[in-house]
């Protein structure tokens, strides 16, 4: 029994954190709100690609890092801390291992698709009706609404209808497309289920990172901001809000780490564990965000302050890949109630 990370996993996380602190500051997130469809800056993405992050779950024999979700989870938390606008969950957690056919598959990628390592940016509608970064992606992983089968589609062959969402940096669009035999990736229900679980797990990890960032920002703010002659963080009401935020996050995080373990080891309880992770991370991140907003007061209620960048991503991801209620329903079924 060891419920922690090894030095390699922590070093991988630290490297990504360092990169994102430099290349994905709040200004980069703001830029993603403003850039026209297709115009998302790729600097940080290219660096992540070079580091092999996108291919974390791709076997070494397919030129990937050959790691598992226990390594990826920390990286995704970092993506959350940075509110990285790029579709890292879609690409690294869902598409890459699916296309590489791991675990245990043969990777029946459609013709003309690059290998999983070099696949580029993939965006998917598996997490909800709208596809994040749809106009920016190199490939779209889409679910045939009639059969549930997954297809890998060239964006040039579809019609995108950008939608106005709460989080502008999600850059979401509805996609009009036609499934074709040559774009089929898989219609195996188990593979589809696994892809959905990986996406929900990925979103949960990102939410943990977002919550940590909002908590950190708020702690710093309430220590500095003075009202009534004292730091507002010295008021018991503020202390208790943030103690509760800390608590909710501290107990959601191990659930997400356990989901990583269950995915990595193909545990029987995988579906239940992922559902629990997403439910708890969604609730915790929303709760932390609410406390962060209230403790920031009017200052946080502006688009000039950075808080809203993390808050709105939290709202979007809490609802994506199944919201907390949807995943609680899955846990209920697992419990037999």
């Amino acid at each position: 029994m060891h419920f922690g990370f090894d030095d390699d996993q922590l070093a991988f996380r630290d490297a990504v954190r360092e990169l994102l602190e430099k290349e994905c500051p709040p200004a980069a997130v703001r830029a993603a709100w403003e850039a026209p469809p297709g115009g998302l800056d790729r600097t940080v993405w290219d660096r992540l690609t070079e580091m092999g992050v996108l291919a974390t779950l791709v076997p070494e024999e397919a030129d990937g890092l050959g790691l598992d979700e226990r390594s990826l989870v920390l990286v995704l938390e970092e993506a959350g801390r940075a509110a990285l606008p790029h579709p890292l969950v879609d690409t690294a957690a869902v598409a890459a291992p699916l296309l590489a056919g791991t675990p245990g598959g043969e990777g029946p990628g459609p013709a003309g698709v690059p290998d999983a390592h070099g696949i580029g940016m993939v965006a998917t509608d598996l997490g909800g009706p709208y596809v994040p970064c749809a106009a920016d992606a190199d490939w779209l992983l889409l679910r045939d609404p009639a059969t549930g089968a997954l297809h890998l589609v060239d964006p040039a062959t579809v019609v995108l209808r950008p939608v106005d969402t709460v989080d502008g940096a999600r850059r979401a669009a509805a996609v009009d497309w036609q499934p074709a035999p040559e774009s089929l990736v898989t219609d195996d229900p188990a593979a589809i289920e696994l892809a959905l679980d990986r996406g929900a797990f990925g979103a949960a990890a990102v939410l943990v990172g977002l919550a940590q960032r909002m908590l950190d920002m708020t702690v710093a703010y309430v220590c500095e901001r003075r009202q009534f002659g004292v730091p507002v963080g010295s008021f018991q009401a503020v202390k208790h809000r943030l103690a509760d935020a800390l608590k909710e996050l501290a107990f959601a995080r191990p659930a997400v780490h356990r989901a990583a373990h269950s995915l990595a080891t193909g545990a029987e309880t995988r579906a239940r564990d992922v559902a629990m992770a997403k439910a708890m991370a969604s609730d915790a991140a929303r709760f932390v965000g609410r406390q962060a907003l209230q403790c920031h007061g009017a200052i946080g209620y502006t688009v000039e302050h950075d808080l809203h960048l993390y808050l709105k991503r939290t709202w979007a991801l809490a609802a994506a890949w199944g919201d907390a209620a949807w995943h609680r329903e899955r846990v209920a079924r697992a419990l037999g109630v």
Binding site: G128, P129, Y130, V163, D164, T165, V166, D167, R170, A172, R226, Q227, F228, V232, F235, A237, V238, R290, L293, Q294, G297, A298, I299, G300, Y301, T302, V303, E304, H308, L311, W315, A316, A319, A320, D323, A325
Partner: protein, 387 residues
Amino acid sequence: MDLTWTDEEEAFRAEARAWLEENLAAWYDEHGGPENIRSGDTREGFAQHLTWERRLYEGRWAAVSWPAAYGGRDASLWEWLIFEEEYYRAGAPPRITQNGIFLLAPTVFEFGNEAQRAHVLPRMAAAEDLWCQGWSEPDAGSDLAGITSRATRVEGGWRLDGQKTWTTRGAFCTHLFGLFRTDPGAERHRGLSYLLVPLDLDGVTVRGFGRLDGDEGFAEVFFDGAFLPDDAIPGGVLLGEEGEGWRVAMATTGSERGLTLRSPGRFLATAQRLVELYRERPSPRLRERLVDAWMRAEAYRLFTLETVTRLAGGAVMGPESSINKIWWSELDCDLHEIALELLGPDAELEGPWSKGWQFALSGPIYAGTNEIQRNIAAERVLGLPRR
């Protein structure tokens, strides 16, 4: 105890309902349909809403409880409640003039001289002068007594220096009512004065900026030695006595938290729309929360009827308005949150519920944070020690 309306009150309701129905339709037509109306907290939408405000004024519905001489119709508090119910039931838009009408006007009635009333009130009702509230400053949010903006007595007026911020719709308004420090030696609540300030003075700069919901609903207002002549407002720019600004302003705070800023009609209408949304997209897991929220909106109406009964019997609003503000602001969040859960994945899309939810989130912050309201309730209503 009698919870029925008189025939006169029912007639008033019917008149308001008919007028609102007809004029809302006419206003929408004027702008090519409701889908073309933008938020009143954007520059373009503000201009659209001005035409609505002027229509209200022409129908004498802009400020029903005011004396007719100032543009009202001498309505009782009961009638005001009825009008508000009808207003929100009709789906009429949020009042872009509300900070003047609901926050400044009660203060002008209480502390203004006759010349100030005669000038300020009709122009406010007519949406000729558009007032924003200048209280918060970068370092004086919850702690209003930390205000540092200064008004210095000079020949024929005041010199203004300093900065206000989070000024709702400040970028679109013509006037500001605000607290300024007129006695630089005095601290905290002392030495403040309540001034009426046209925003077109030299040395005043207004910069709009975005709220959380993306609208340019906030402004910073910079005063760089702006000269405010005493006669910029007939009757004078000082409301109440010099140095009495805190006391004068606190009267307004009572209104803001209490009865007038957020009438029950607003939340009853939201609750009703939520019930309709539920009927369209039923979700049994949310049914109890829906009922609970509906009951809380209804309880807010009943609580208000009780309050108005007391006021009608000669009582005055006390610190109990603090629990009022906690109640409606948290209710508003819950109503919208349930709606977003009903909408499911579509909740991510910008739309009235999403927008309304983001706005509702500001409720526990503005007009005195709910933390401060809870302090007030505990200390002034329950009598717990201040420490």
